[in-house]
């Protein structure tokens, strides 16, 4: 094992803990502790705080303002923030499009877009999925037709997270309908204020609007907003996914919800007995602990393998499948353990009394909200089914 790498990552973990307990603004801390829904300003404030520490793009190369973190450091950073229940790191700029631009973009694009991404001054959204192209992303049909010095884009994107706040959309479009589905795809940067862009919110069962449909009707996009080469978009899309593989937050979230379950079980009495002392609950928590141990151990082994070039292509799938499924199962048990408080979910009341639920602990409403939305964790970013296909095909060669 690479002890130097491990020590460096451990120092980063301690710095993150120190930052969260000493430098996080009280209001943001309260909101995120209660898992309240956060607004655009909350996220921007959070990303700018991280930027001041040099962490927003810590994983970027030094020449673009990063710290050249190893995969392990990047993983630890996200893991620790999620363990401490911090806001989500909105990935669309710093994790997704930024690296595509500095790797494949023109000098002009780097100058124009990278500073706004590093400083979180511009909000990005991801135009990937379409109604007919979810797991089968290469089936996308949004068309971009070249007309002199611009493209005219027509189509519809869906599940576009926070498109309602976005200044820019990085978008996979079809510039050629011949040949293999993957070959005619291009990577365009679309100004969300362009005429013809319409955002329609999709309400999810947690009662909020995190995702959207984005309609593109005769949207004019200057040719200089094409990233890299026309028709090479699929390569960049795969690069983006590869670059996104180190999802430490998945492990951290599972840890966080399990810690919350243990806390609840240790302070709640039912019929005079602590929940944690009740055999069924104790067994359940024990099984979760065991699954977490396996997840944590295997995830860190996987990330070290990446840093040392020993990875086999299944690492990200392991983390995603095991982490998201554990999170969902623990969350289900936590909601049940809340008893009556776990049955009440009142969006209007949550809005009216800054996030406080009508019954139960002050984070009860947030626990329910997260529980309802986390069913998406096994669907987005490559569903559990797609991850298992990757393991079967890429790793096992079946």
């Amino acid at each position: 094992m690479n002890t130097h790498l491990l020590e460096k990552a451990q120092r980063l973990r301690e710095a993150v803990r120190h930052f969260v307990s000493n430098e996080m603004p009280a209001e943001l801390r309260t909101k995120s502790h209660r898992h309240q829904v956060l607004g655009r300003q909350d996220y921007l404030q959070w990303m700018q705080l991280l930027d001041r520490k040099g962490w927003a793009v810590g994983h970027w190369p030094a020449e673009h303002g990063g710290q050249q973190w190893s995969s392990l450091e990047r993983f630890v950073f996200e893991d620790e923030l999620a363990r401490l229940g911090c806001p989500w790191i909105i990935p669309f700029g710093v994790k997704y499009v930024g690296p595509v631009i500095y790797s494949f973009g023109s000098e002009q694009q780097k100058l124009r877009f990278l500073p706004g991404i590093v400083k979180s001054e511009e909000f990005w959204a991801q135009g990937y999925s379409e109604p007919g192209a979810g797991s089968d992303l290469a089936g996308l049909r949004t068309r971009a037709v070249r007309n002199g010095d611009h493209y005219v884009v027509n189509g519809q994107k869906v599940w576009t997270t926070y498109a309602q706040w976005a200044d820019w959309l990085f978008c996979l479009v079809r510039t050629d309908t011949e040949g293999k589905p993957q070959s005619g795809i291009s990577f365009l940067l679309i100004d969300m204020r362009s005429p013809g862009v319409t955002v329609k919110p999709i309400r999810t069962m947690d009662g909020y609007e995190h995702v959207n449909e984005v309609w593109l009707e005769d949207v004019v996009v200057p040719v200089e907003n094409l990233v890299g080469e026309e028709g090479a978009g699929w390569t960049y899309a795969k690069f983006l996914l590869k670059n996104e593989r180190t999802a430490g937050a998945i492990v951290g979230q599972a840890w966080h919800v399990l810690a919350r379950l243990k806390q609840h079980a240790k302070e709640t009495r039912i019929n005079g007995q602590l929940l944690i002392e009740q055999p069924l609950m104790r067994n359940r928590v024990g099984e979760f602990e065991l699954r977490f141990l396996a997840l944590e151990t295997a995830s860190y082994a996987a990330v070290l393998a990446m840093d040392e070039g020993r990875d086999d292509g299944g690492e990200a799938s392991l983390i995603k499948i095991r982490g998201t499924e554990l999170y969902q199962d623990v969350s289900e048990t936590l909601v049940d353990a809340l008893g009556e408080a776990g049955m009440v979910f009142d969006i209007a009341a949550l809005h009216a009394t800054p996030g406080l639920p009508p019954l139960g602990p002050e984070d009860g409403g947030g626990i329910l909200k997260e529980h309802l939305y986390n069913r998406a964790n096994t669907i987005f970013g490559g569903s559990s089914e797609v991850q298992r296909n990757i393991l079967a095909k890429v790793v096992l060669g079946l």
Binding site: G134, L280, E340, M343, D346, A349, I379, F380
Partner: protein, 361 residues
């Protein structure tokens, strides 16, 4: 009392026809946004069709319907996610009045229960937190389903000797404090506090059982009704997921051709068949010996709660992003299924009761 199959079939098909015309998904969505998530029109329609008289004795123009009759309607209620207080008011409260009320009380309450002009909510699981002395009630009930719109509350409490009693509380009075809430599936509820409230006792058991034994029986009936409701939800979710897999295409072919998904659907089908059979068995056990009743009711309830969860989780997953949206019915079933583990005892309690009765049998 055994309701004949023909009557049960008629009840089921008339409710099915009614909800087909009056309780479509969009109609239900509108209802969810109304106050108390309740439509007085639907409620009075249910009364007019006779559904609210299902549990009334024959001499009060009721059907004296048995558990299978209740189950048939609950299955339809689960299939269409009816929000109305059928189970709480027309089944549980009505049965309690029939078994514990004296002649005058029965005469007075049955009419307005059957016509739907009065809704009663029930708080039967918190007797230890409610004190009943000299016809006065003090205590707190943490969550009363439909307690937000009920005119009367049937509350179990204990007297100074620790004996369990049941009383009727008029809900709209100064010493009854109710705060209205919404359950995760959109149905209304309330937290209720009673401060030395004058109440009326229902204290004339006429079926040979004590008040406490009557409460236990009624909770068993409630749990079996929930099993039937869960069966309805499982059936609806399986049907819609099956259809979706056939029409949704990815990678140039319907999702349904993937053998891995076929096997998952086959497993869900097994759960559905087991759930239906367990529900029937529990319905029959309700009129049998107490120990066997407890074993079958709690066994069915434990198995079905878990099965319904698995079906709901899989239905969401197999619908992809659509599955978590407000505009697709799948997410509404998912939310209602969430409540199953906590209502009327919860899964762990039933599982332990099942184990205890199984091992001592």
């Amino acid at each position: 009392m055994t309701t004949d199959l023909e009557t049960i079939g008629m009840l089921r098909s008339s409710l099915e026809r009614y909800v087909e015309d009056n309780y479509g998904f969009l109609q239900r969505q509108a209802l969810l946004n109304s106050e108390n998530s309740f439509s007085s029109r639907v409620w009075s329609d249910l009364a007019e069709f006779g559904f609210l008289s299902l549990r009334l004795p024959v001499e009060h123009d009721g059907l004296d319907g048995d558990a299978a009759a209740v189950g048939a309607l609950m299955e339809v209620i689960g299939q269409r996610l009816l929000q109305e207080p059928f189970l709480v008011s027309a089944v549980l409260a009505t049965s309690l009045v029939a078994r514990l009320g004296n002649a005058e009380q029965r005469e007075r309450l049955f009419g307005s229960l059957a016509s739907g002009s009065m809704i009663l909510a029930c708080a039967l699981e918190h007797a230890e937190h409610c004190l009943l002395e000299d016809n006065r009630l003090s205590g707190r009930v943490p969550l009363l389903m439909h307690g937000d719109l009920a005119q009367g509350l049937l509350v179990a409490g204990h007297d100074a000797q620790g004996k369990v009693r049941v009383c009727l509380v008029q809900a709209d009075q100064p010493r009854v404090e109710r705060s209205a809430l919404r359950l995760v599936d959109g149905r209304g509820a309330a937290v209720a506090t009673f401060d030395n409230v004058e109440v009326e006792l229902l204290d004339t058991p006429n079926n040979g059982l004590s008040v406490a034994a009557n409460i236990e029986l009624l909770l068993d009936e409630a749990n079996v009704a929930l099993c039937a409701e869960a069966c309805g939800m499982i059936e609806a979710l399986l049907h819609t997921t099956n259809e979706y897999l056939k029409v949704r295409k990815q990678f140039g072919k319907p999702l349904a051709v993937n053998q891995a998904l076929q096997h998952r659907m086959a497993d869900l089908y097994l759960l559905k068949q087991e759930a239906l059979a367990l529900t029937r068995a529990a319905e029959q056990a309700l009129s049998g010996p107490a120990a066997e009743r407890a074993r079958l009711v709690s066994g069915a309830r434990s198995y079905i709660s878990k099965a319904a969860r698995q079906v709901a989780n899989e239905a969401v997953q197999l619908h992809g992003g659509l599955g978590i949206t407000e505009e697709l019915d799948v997410s509404h079933y998912f939310r209602r299924v969430m409540l199953l583990n906590t209502l009327f005892g919860g899964r762990d309690q039933h599982f332990l009761r099942f184990v205890e009765h199984s091992l001592s049998a």
